[in-house]
Symmetry: C2
Subunit: 188 residues, 2 copies
DNA sequence: CAACACTTAGTACCTGATACTATAACCTGT
DNA sequence: ACAGGTTATAGTATCAGGTACTAAGTGTTG
């Protein structure tokens, strides 16, 4: 395989892109792909401040773990600010880069929903519960960097059904509103 | 009953737990924490088939990246099976371990929502759009391992508002149903 | 006390690097 | 055309965090 030699800056750009796309490549593999020596790759990385493979992998692992935790494993999506079990609760979610659409920079709806839904679940005082029904209105698009504050309130309880209203604000502006009916689940 | 054996097993359990909790520890650090020699740690890892630090980190990075991709960066949550732009679409989502509540093994509601919502967005033939309103009913709890098939259909369009219905089934059973009003977004 | 499991020590070697030195190849201007 | 600077390559020493293996203790226990 013979690749045309390119200028340094162009090569460095190619290198950076490649590493961005496939961070698991060693210097040796990168050298072969760009048809230069391994020393050149190392000089380029040094100049551009790109860390070595192991360091890249380590960072990805830490970072990705945190992101996975943010949406999947935590009890509540976002940060729980206040909770009065059986009455109300408040949580905060910061919209990060990976929660938005690339083109529009507008938050994907399911993040806003997730915050509200998980908060609604947290406020009800029952060992186990699931969402039954939800009525949702997105009022204003949310952008990257904004901090969403969701307030949940139990407005009525009938048997094992809890009616929870959640209002999400960005600053003073209400951006989202949801009514949930949560169903508690006595094990049998 | 051999005394030494018991000690060994307990230590190995402690070791396994520790690595589970803090996978970024080197053998040297683990040796210090458990007050044994580094060789003992290595023998233990060998016996239990626990890979070395670098390998552990590498696996975490790969794996976590895939998970992050599943919910955050992909256009559609789940796997897009079929899409007729402007009419309908089908997607499939496999419920994995980290999508469920630990205690109940029931899927968190927002995953089911995310699948439906992202599919609803995908079917509408507009460059940019956001969710406006959603009416949702969870009919049956979903468990780990199950495959959810969501079908979205555009039922009406009025101006820049698209009315999309999504029905999600697990096998023949309908587990979830949603009506979305999506709003397309002409940039100005 | 002898047998055997367990633990520790130590060595050679591996990968994927950093850090540094030395030299070769390529432009560029005058 | 040739000097001078930039760019590329080669090579060496060293490192972390291991694997794989050999050898020598240290208990425990029957």
């Amino acid at each position: 395989m013979h690749m045309a030699k390119v200028k340094k800056k162009i090569r460095q750009q190619l290198l950076a892109d490649r590493i961005q796309e496939q961070p698991f490549l060693t210097d040796e593999e990168l050298a072969r792909l760009l048809a230069v020596s391994i020393q050149t790759i190392r000089l380029d990385r040094l100049e551009m401040g790109i860390p070595e493979l192991r360091e890249r992998v380590r960072r990805m692992a830490e970072n990705a773990q945190a992101k996975v935790k943010a949406i999947s494993s935590g009890e509540v999506v976002g940060e729980l600010i206040d909770l009065e079990l059986g009455h109300s609760g408040i949580s905060m979610l910061r919209i990060t880069d990976d929660m938005v659409f690339e083109k529009t920079r507008v938050a994907r709806g399911h993040y806003v929903f997730s915050q509200a839904n998980s908060l609604a679940l947290a406020v009800i005082d029952a060992p186990m519960a699931v969402t039954g029904v939800a009525n949702i209105k997105y009022k204003v698009p949310v952008h990257v960097g904004e901090k969403l504050v969701a307030k949940a309130e139990i407005v009525r309880q009938r048997g094992n059904k809890y009616f929870v209203w959640v209002k999400t604000r960005n600053g003073d502006q209400e951006v989202f509103r949801a009514k949930f009916i949560m169903v508690s689940w006595t094990e049998k």
